[in-house]
Symmetry: C2
Subunit: 427 residues, 2 copies
């Protein structure tokens, strides 16, 4: 523990204050393998949180691809190289045929920063609609989409927020089609507001799975009316697939496919290369060419041969190890287990999610659905003490965030569930 | 050649049009080692251009560090890890003691995007001064600094440009202190203009080596009067060290040290981890904490253990192989060689640079100094045909850009010089 104290002091000195750490007792990790992590004291943790090591921590095939290419050639896209072409071909083959080209970046933030400019290039407008509990990244332009903290100099005035959809407490009080219509009306109002502003309307940007908003189980075709309103107004739809993408939702490769829509632009990040810094923007050739015509763009590290080799290995492993199928299967199993825990623990108000992105919303009482945000914090810390890493998120910060590496097994789910049972029982 | 055609067609389809490639006959690279590159036909090239593979293409120690850490653990900064602390400690030790903390990012663009917000956090203002031929990166916010292409929605109005310093054609007609004063007056005018605007004045951002502006050989203490004016007005100085940093200029580890100033914020990118996507911002703890207080910032891939291992290996190799000393030594030798070529080729108007970032400005006549921009393009392509890769840049796009990996030897310089002699002779 003295060692951890010294580490934290050194960290504050070298990296600054206000740099967030997970857990009241932060974890000092030294090793990872598959769904497992180890700290400096040799304690083992089941990783139920990290989506970045998508195909498992330190997957040997991804590591091998990185080592092989890093020792052969690493350069940029101003020379010809087949790596980026092979990867973009494989990647775009997983999308609707209208989404047939891509720009590679180094982070999801850079991808969203490009996507917003694609919308500007296509529409000639700059106004954007996002949800009021979203997060799309950390660049100056992209962080304007978040409501979390007003930037120095103020907001640009070009963003309109619509309420994050909450299927557990649906807008208008009803679920189903009425909820979808009520939400689309909010989008229409935001479009009208932007059209009356000097900015005009360029795009709706959403995570089609609404992960940060608490991954609500939305009614079928929930997004269709809003998407229709966007297109009618001449705007484009940007889907941020950083969280739901690459098969995590189990039923589909991409969150927007699960939601039953075809966006104009898709952005990618975190899991794309299992932790190697890779992001990307997938769009139709016309959209991409409009961007490249309106903005010069070159990203030194974006699409370099090593990054492409790592990203390609992720697609290979996903396919060969049938990880999307595993996500569907194990996710359903784990959610059923969570549902069973709800019989015993009234704190569990709502179990939801899809594939290997799921969790429970914790409430003080089920009738009023009063969010148990502080208890959620205690639960997360209790799990960490017992060797299971997970997080919390959502509009009320009371939903457990279970989003493990994709090789997560039923046995792993059982360990998570029994530990959660213990923690909830001990509150 | 048929293969190259097919590759280019595939590239345009998958990556879009208007995606720049070097040379009339683009190079299809497959392998790199040290200062050498090989294309798909087995042709070998001397790399006199690439600064990203700073310690040499595929340096075994950097590759080994990446492989070792990628197979052990790769995660993010919300867990404790010593890798980032060890690196930031080593990195900041190379700076003035006032620059004692850092934020790690994935690209130089992200670093400059953060640096601009640091200036906002410290000053409460948003106006920025840059030179009119600079390039600091590709995010929406950072690309507002470039004059190359007006963005959709127009410029934000918060940027003022000062003339890129050109020591070959000094402002006011005189060199020395008069030139420095004349330039500082331009900076003062820009400050006054921002102070009268709603934005106020937050920062002067410069590459202290003015690489994109054509790396002018500036008089001693050229920057001092401008820096004094910035500080007097309550603004901060951001030095973009993406190009001159990590010992490239030979005389000093950092461009601003060579220029004799201590900036408030330093940004880093390209060469930092030999091609692994790493960037960073170095600042004093107060500046860094002001930023972290005013803006939430978390970068998923920034400062991950693999990136830090790669970056640390670069510092190790730089030191162990005495590459800064090599840059000083070989750079002086190569510039003397270029100067000798000038006796023979009147096209060479001005030889300049420092360490392993140097070149010659090509002019149609030495009296008028008329830029030979088109001829520079022919020279670069002629060199490529003869197996030597270099670029061109500068205000008039007529300066050869010679910026090889740091292990560049005198023998390599001889090959570059004799090839250039041939190419110039054959024009």
């Amino acid at each position: 523990m003295a060692g951890e104290e010294a580490l934290r002091a050194r960290r504050e000195k070298l990296l600054g204050r206000n740099m967030s750490l997970f857990y009241e007792d932060p974890v000092h990790l030294v090793k990872g393998e598959g769904v497992w992590l180890w700290d400096a004291d040799g304690k083992q943790y089941l990783d139920c949180y990290n989506n970045v090591p998508h195909v498992g921590h330190c997957h040997p095939r991804v590591v091998e691809a990185i080592c092989r290419q890093a020792s052969t050639l690493n350069t940029h896209t101003r020379y010809l190289h087949e790596g980026i072409l092979d990867y973009v071909e494989r990647l775009t083959a997983t999308f609707d045929k209208s989404l047939d080209s891509a720009i590679l970046t180094c982070t999801g933030s850079e991808a969203n920063d490009v996507a917003l400019r694609m919308a500007q290039a296509v529409t000639g407008k700059t106004g954007v609609i996002a949800t009021d509990f979203t997060y799309h990244g950390n660049t100056t332009a992209v962080s304007q989409l978040s409501t979390r903290m007003p930037p120095v100099g103020g907001y640009g005035g070009h963003v309109r927020h619509v309420p994050a959809p909450d299927a557990y407490r649906p807008l208008g009080g009803e679920g189903g089609a009425a909820f979808a219509t009520a939400w689309a009306v909010k989008v229409e109002e935001a479009i009208a507001s932007l059209q009356e502003s000097p900015f005009g309307f360029s795009a709706l940007i959403i995570d089609p799975f609404f992960a940060n908003e608490g991954f609500p189980d939305l009614p079928e075709n929930f997004l269709a009316p809003a998407v229709a309103a966007v297109r009618k107004a001449g705007g484009i739809v940007i889907c941020d697939e950083v969280q739901p993408g690459f098969g995590r939702a189990g039923t589909h490769m991409w969150g927007h496919q699960k939601a039953g829509i075809v966006p104009d632009v898709v952005t990618l990040g975190k899991p794309m290369a299992n932790g190697h810094p890779v992001g990307g923007v997938v769009a139709g050739a016309e959209t991409l060419n409009a961007f490249r015509k309106a903005f010069r763009y070159f990203n030194t590290f974006g699409g370099n041969p090593v990054s492409c080799a790592a990203a390609l290995a992720v697609l290979d492993v996903l396919e060969d190890e049938k990880l999307q199928e595993n996500a569907l299967d194990v996710g359903a199993y784990a959610r059923a287990g969570l549902q069973k825990l709800a019989d015993k623990h009234p704190l569990i108000g709502n179990v939801r999610g899809s594939g290997l992105f799921f969790g429970a919303e914790l409430v003080l009482d089920r009738a009023e659905k009063t969010p148990a945000s502080d208890i959620a914090t205690r639960v997360i810390n209790g799990m960490r003490e017992r060797g299971v890493l997970m997080g919390k998120l959502g509009i009320h910060q009371n939903a457990t965030k279970i989003r493990p590496p994709m090789p997560f097994s039923k046995e792993n789910a059982d360990l998570m569930l029994s530990t959660l049972d213990d923690v909830l029982g001990g509150l």
